[in-house]
C-alpha cells in the first residue's frame, strides 16, 4: 500500500506539473503574450513593453516558467483588472460555492445512479431496464442548459415550486436558502445521473458475469446477498474511479448550470472572464480545477485501492 501511495502520488505530481506547463503555454499562446493576459485588453503596446521589461518576460522561457510557477505555488495567481480583485481572492470566494453545488449534485447523482444502475443491471433487458435506459439516454443527450431552462420554465415559472435563481451574496446566504439550490442541483444531478447510471449498469453487469458471483450463488446466496455482499464493493471500485475522472465533466456541467441559474461560482467566474477576456481569471480557474481533478483522481485511486486489495498489490500499473 505504501509503495502504491508513493507511486501514485509521484504520478500526480508529474501530472500537476504538466498542467502548469499547459497553462503557462496557454498564457504564451495569447496574442500579446502574458502581458496582455495580465494587463487586460486595454493595455497599449507601451504598457506591454514596460510590463515585459519589469517582470522579466524578456528572459528565457524556462526562467519565466520557474518564476511563474513559484508565484503560483505561493498563491499568486495574478490580478484581474476586469474584476478589480486578485485572482486568488476571487477563487477563494467562488470555489466554496461551486464545491457546494457540484458536491451536493454529485453526491445525489451517485445516490440515485447506484441503485438505478443496479436495478437496470438486475432487470437487464426487461421492461424496467429499457424504460430507465431510455430516460437516461435522453437526459444524457439533452444539452444541460436546455434541461435547466425547461426545469425553470416548469418548476419555477409555471408551478412556482422553487426559485429560478440561486441565492446570491455570501456563502452563508447560499446555505441558508436550500430551496433556491434545488433547481441548479437538480439540473446537474439529472445530467450526471444519466451518464453515471449507464456506467454503473455496465459495471454491475460485468461483475454479475464474474465467476465469483456464480460461486456465491452456488453457496445459496440470495440476490440481495450477491448484490450487496459481493457485487457492490467490486463494482464500487470502477465507480469511484469514474467519479475521479469525471470531475472535469462535472465542472463543465456546473459552468453551464451556473450560467443558467445565475449562480455565483467559479463556472460563472470563468464564463465572465472568457467574455471579458480576463485571462488571469480563466487560467486561474483552469489551474485550480486541474489541480482539483488531479487530486480528485488521486483520492479516487486511493479509495479504489482501499476497496480492492488487488489494486494495492499491483502498484505501478499504467
Amino acid at each position: 500500500m505504501i509503495r502504491f501511495l508513493r507511486q501514485r502520488c509521484s504520478q500526480a505530481v508529474v501530472v500537476l506539473l504538466l498542467v502548469s506547463v499547459i497553462v503557462f503555454g496557454l498564457l504564451h499562446l495569447l496574442p500579446g503574450g502574458p502581458a496582455r493576459a495580465i494587463l487586460g485588453t486595454h493595455a497599449t503596446p507601451t504598457n506591454i513593453a514596460a510590463f515585459n521589461q519589469q517582470n522579466g518576460l524578456n528572459s528565457p522561457v524556462p526562467v519565466q516558467y520557474w518564476h511563474w510557477l513559484t508565484g503560483v505555488l505561493s498563491g499568486n495567481l495574478g490580478f484581474s483588472y476586469v474584476q478589480n480583485e486578485s485572482v486568488s481572492s476571487l477563487l477563494a470566494q467562488r470555489l466554496p460555492k461551486t464545491a457546494l453545488l457540484a458536491g451536493v449534485s454529485v453526491l445525489l447523482a451517485v445516490l440515485i445512479a447506484v441503485p438505478v444502475g443496479f436495478f437496470q443491471a438486475v432487470r437487464r433487458h426487461r421492461a424496467g431496464d429499457y424504460v430507465v435506459t431510455t430516460v437516461a439516454l435522453v437526459l444524457y443527450s439533452t444539452p444541460a442548459f436546455w434541461v435547466g431552462i425547461l426545469l425553470i420554465d416548469v418548476l419555477a415559472v409555471r408551478l412556482r415550486v422553487f426559485p429560478a435563481e440561486a441565492p446570491q451574496g455570501s456563502f452563508s446566504a447560499l446555505i441558508s436558502d436550500p430551496q433556491a439550490l434545488v433547481l441548479p442541483v437538480l439540473t446537474i444531478t439529472l445530467v450526471t445521473v444519466a451518464g453515471f447510471s449507464r456506467y454503473i449498469r455496465s459495471s454491475v453487469l460485468d461483475e454479475l458475469a464474474q465467476d465469483y458471483v456464480r460461486m456465491a450463488r452456488s453457496k445459496g446466496a440470495s440476490r440481495r446477498v450477491i448484490l450487496f455482499g459481493h457485487v457492490l464493493r467490486n463494482a464500487a471500485g470502477p465507480v469511484v474511479t469514474l467519479l475521479g475522472l469525471s470531475l472535469p465533466f462535472i465542472v463543465s456541467g456546473t459552468l453551464i448550470t451556473e450560467y443558467v441559474f445565475n449562480y455565483p461560482g467559479i463556472g460563472l467566474l470563468a464564463f465572465d472572464a472568457a467574455t471579458s477576456q480576463d485571462y488571469p481569471v480563466i487560467l486561474g480557474v483552469v489551474i485550480v480545477v486541474g489541480a482539483a481533478t488531479v487530486v480528485g483522481s488521486l483520492l479516487a485511486d486511493i479509495t479504489h485501492a482501499i476497496l480492492d486489495p488487488r489494486v494495492r498489490a499491483s502498484a505501478g500499473i499504467g
Binding site: 419555477a156 415559472v157 435563481e165 460563472l268 467566474l269 467574455t275
Partner: protein
C-alpha cells in the same frame, strides 16, 4: 445585454449602448410611471432589489477611476449613491439638465467674459458629521492635477488643464480662474459636473493606519494619496468593511459587496439632501444573462426593479398581472456603429461621403424599431438625439437627411461611378476624382465588400446586423459579419493610422454609441474632432472641427454641428434603443423619472403596503 460602459479616453475611449427615445409617445418617463399611481400607504424600511443587467456590474468605488473601470455601473449606479458630484444631471422631468436641488452646489456664476467661475456649496454633511467644504473640492482638484492621466474622464486641454488657479474664499465658496473664455453651459455640464468633493478628513492620507493630513497639497503627496486610495479600491473584498468608504455625503453607504457585482447599500441617516432614504437597504444584484433575469422576474418577487429583455417584451402583459409595471427608461446618448477611415483596404471607400450616405440610406430604422426593438426605441439620425426631450436637438434629426431608401442608395452609387450589382458586390467602373467618379484612392474594379464585427450577446443587435447585411445587398454592398464578445470588440476601439496592425478592422458595432454621461452637453468634442481620444473611426473634417470648437468656446448652439454630422454620416446612425425596459414592482413607488444619465436614486423609492 446592454453594456452601459462609458470608457474613457486614455486607452480605448468610447462609450456605448443606450439611450433615448421611446416609441411610446407619453411624456416624461414613458408609460405608466409607478410614482404617479400610488396604490397604498408609504411605509419606511424594507430592502429594494435592483437587477443589474449582464456586463453592468460595479467593481470600483474610488470616484477618481481609471479607464478600465469607467462605466455607468461604477459611476452613476454605484459611486454616486455614496459620493455626490457638484452638479447633478437629470431633472424631475427626466431631462438631461442640471437639477440644482440635487446638486452639492448652487449653479455657478460666470464672470470676466466667462473665464472666472464662482461656486458656492450648499449645506451638505459627511456621514461623520463634518460639513462638505470647499477644501473637499480642492482635495479633488489637487488629486486630479497630480494624477490626471490616470483619471478616465481626463481629456488633454480640458479640466484641469484649462484651470489656471483656484482660490478658496471660505468654507462654502471657491473661485476658479480659467485659461480663457468658455461656453458656460459646456463648462458646467462637461467639466464641473465631474468634480466630486472627497472627504479630506478621512481620505487625505497615504496609508490605512496613517492620520489624515494635507498631503494632497504637494504633487508628490497627492500622488501618494491617489495611489493609496487606488490600492484600497482594488481590495474589493474589503469594500463592505473598509472604514474609508464609510465616510459618505450621499444617501447610501455600502454595507456589503461580493465580487461579481452584488452590492448591498444601507441608508445614510446623516444625508442632508432634499430626500432622505425611506428604504433601509438597497441591493444591486448581478445577472449572467437576460434570460436568467427574466426567469427570476417571472418566477417570483425577489426583484423589485428589474427589466424586460427587448426580445421578450411581449411578456409585459404577463408581468403586469404579476404586479409589475413596465416603464421604458430613456437614456441620454446616440447610437451608431463605426467605419474605419484609416483601414488600408476600405478606408478610401469610407472616406467618400456619398458611399456613407448610401449606406445610411440602406439602414431601415423603422423596421429595426418595429422588429428587433419591438417598439422600444426611436429613430436616430444624428449625434444629438430627439429623445428624451431636451433643449439641444434640432427638428432636422427627427427625420434625418438619409432615411431608408434603397433607391437613393443605388442612385448615389450609380452617379458616382459604380456599377451596382444587387446581391453581389458593386464595382467601381469609373475611377477618378472628378465629378461622377468613384473618388480618391479607389481603383477600377474595386468591389464594395466590408467585414463587420459586432458584439455578441445582445439579441436585437444580432438581429439588426443580420437584417442590415441583407438590406445592404440590395445595393450590392457586401457585408461579412462576425460576432465577438463585447470586450474583444471594444479592445479594437482606439484611433489608429493605416500602417498600424490595430487598424485592420473595417466596421465595428459594439451595440451602442455614445452615452452623454461625461459630457451631458453633447458637443462632440470627444467624438468627432480630429484626433480626439474617442474618435475611434479616425474621422477628420475641418468643417466639423470648426463647428465643434464653436460650441465649446462660444455660446453658439449645437444646431449647425449636429445637422452637419447628420448629413455627413461619419458613423452609421442606428435606431436608439431604450436604455432598458424597466419592470418595477407596483409595491415600489417613487421610481419616476428614470434618470437620463442612468443614475439610480433609491432615496426617492419607498414601499407601499
Amino acid at each position: 445585454m446592454r453594456h452601459s460602459l462609458r470608457l474613457g479616453l486614455a486607452a480605448a475611449a468610447v462609450a456605448t449602448a443606450t439611450l433615448v427615445a421611446t416609441a411610446c409617445t407619453s411624456s416624461g418617463g414613458g408609460t405608466g410611471s409607478p410614482g404617479s399611481s400610488a396604490t397604498g400607504k408609504a411605509v419606511s424600511g424594507g430592502t429594494a432589489t435592483y437587477a443589474e443587467p449582464p456586463g453592468t456590474t460595479p467593481n470600483y468605488i474610488f470616484p477618481m477611476l481609471t479607464a478600465a473601470y469607467y462605466s455607468v455601473a461604477n459611476i452613476e449606479q454605484f459611486q454616486r449613491l455614496s459620493f455626490r458630484s457638484l452638479y447633478w444631471i437629470g431633472n424631475a422631468q427626466g431631462q438631461p439638465v442640471v437639477d440644482p436641488s440635487m446638486s452639492l452646489a448652487a449653479l455657478p456664476v460666470y464672470s470676466k467674459n466667462d473665464s472666472v467661475v464662482t461656486i458656492t456649496l450648499g449645506n451638505y454633511k459627511w456621514s461623520d458629521g463634518e460639513p462638505v467644504t470647499t477644501r473637499d473640492v480642492a482635495f479633488w482638484i489637487n488629486l486630479l492635477k497630480a494624477n490626471k492621466t490616470s483619471f478616465a474622464a481626463y481629456i488633454p486641454g480640458e479640466f484641469p488643464d484649462n484651470l489656471k488657479s483656484y482660490k478658496i474664499v471660505n468654507a462654502k465658496t471657491i473661485v476658479l480662474t480659467l485659461n480663457g473664455s468658455y461656453n458656460p453651459t459646456w463648462f458646467t455640464y462637461d467639466q464641473l459636473s465631474q468634480i466630486t468633493p472627497l472627504p479630506t478628513q478621512a481620505w487625505d492620507k497615504t496609508s490605512a493606519s496613517g492620520k489624515a493630513g494635507n498631503y494632497d497639497e504637494t504633487t508628490s503627496g497627492a500622488k501618494a494619496v491617489f495611489n493609496f486610495l487606488t490600492a484600497q479600491s482594488k481590495d474589493i473584498a474589503t469594500y463592505g468593511t473598509n472604514p474609508l468608504w464609510k465616510t459618505v455625503d450621499g444617501p447610501w453607504t455600502l454595507a456589503s459587496y461580493q465580487s461579481g457585482g452584488y452590492a448591498k447599500f444601507e441608508a445614510n441617516p446623516a444625508y442632508a439632501g432634499p430626500t432622505r432614504p425611506k428604504l433601509k437597504y438597497f441591493v444591486e444584484q448581478p445577472f449572467t444573462s437576460d434570460t436568467a433575469e427574466l426567469n427570476v422576474l417571472r418566477s417570483g418577487n425577489s426583484i423589485d426593479y428589474g427589466y424586460l429583455p427587448t426580445q421578450e417584451s411581449s411578456q409585459s402583459g404577463v408581468l403586469s398581472s404579476q404586479g409589475y409595471t413596465t416603464s421604458p427608461w430613456l437614456g441620454w446618448g446616440t447610437t451608431y456603429f463605426l467605419m474605419n477611415f484609416n483601414n488600408p483596404q476600405t478606408g478610401p471607400l469610407i472616406g467618400q461621403a456619398y458611399l456613407r450616405q448610401a449606406m445610411q440610406s440602406l439602414i431601415d430604422q423603422n423596421s429595426f424599431l418595429a422588429g428587433p426593438l419591438k417598439g422600444y426605441g426611436s429613430t436616430n439620425y444624428g449625434p444629438v438625439p430627439v429623445k428624451p426631450s431636451n433643449p439641444y436637438s434640432d427638428s432636422y434629426e427627427a427625420k434625418g437627411p438619409w432615411p431608408y431608401s434603397p433607391s437613393t442608395a443605388v442612385k448615389l452609387l450609380k452617379s458616382n461611378g459604380w456599377t451596382v450589382n444587387p446581391n453581389g458586390a458593386s464595382t467601381c467602373t469609373s475611377p477618378g476624382t472628378g465629378a461622377g467618379q468613384c473618388g480618391k484612392g479607389i481603383a477600377a474594379g474595386t468591389k464594395l465588400s466590408f467585414t463587420l464585427a459586432y458584439a455578441s450577446g445582445t439579441e436585437f443587435v444580432s438581429q439588426e446586423m443580420q437584417a442590415l447585411k441583407s438590406d445592404f445587398s440590395q445595393a450590392g454592398i457586401q457585408v461579412n459579419l462576425s460576432s465577438e464578445p463585447f470586450d474583444s470588440i471594444i479592445s479594437l476601439l482606439t484611433p489608429c493610422t493605416s500602417s498600424q496592425s490595430s487598424c485592420s478592422w473595417q466596421m465595428l458595432n459594439y451595440g451602442g454609441g455614445w452615452t452623454y454621461g461625461v459630457d451631458p452637453y453633447p458637443t462632440g468634442d470627444q467624438l468627432f474632432e480630429t484626433g480626439s481620444g474617442s474618435n475611434s473611426s479616425n474621422y477628420s473634417s475641418p468643417q466639423a472641427n470648426a463647428l465643434i470648437q464653436a460650441t465649446v468656446h462660444g455660446t453658439v448652439g449645437l444646431t449647425n454641428y449636429e445637422n452637419y454630422l447628420a448629413q455627413q454620416a461619419p458613423v452609421l446612425w442606428m435606431p436608439q434603443p431604450d436604455y432598458q425596459i424597466s419592470e418595477i414592482s407596483n409595491k415600489l413607488q417613487g421610481t419616476s423619472p428614470q434618470s437620463p444619465i442612468e443614475s439610480l436614486t433609491p432615496e426617492n423609492w419607498y414601499f407601499t403596503q
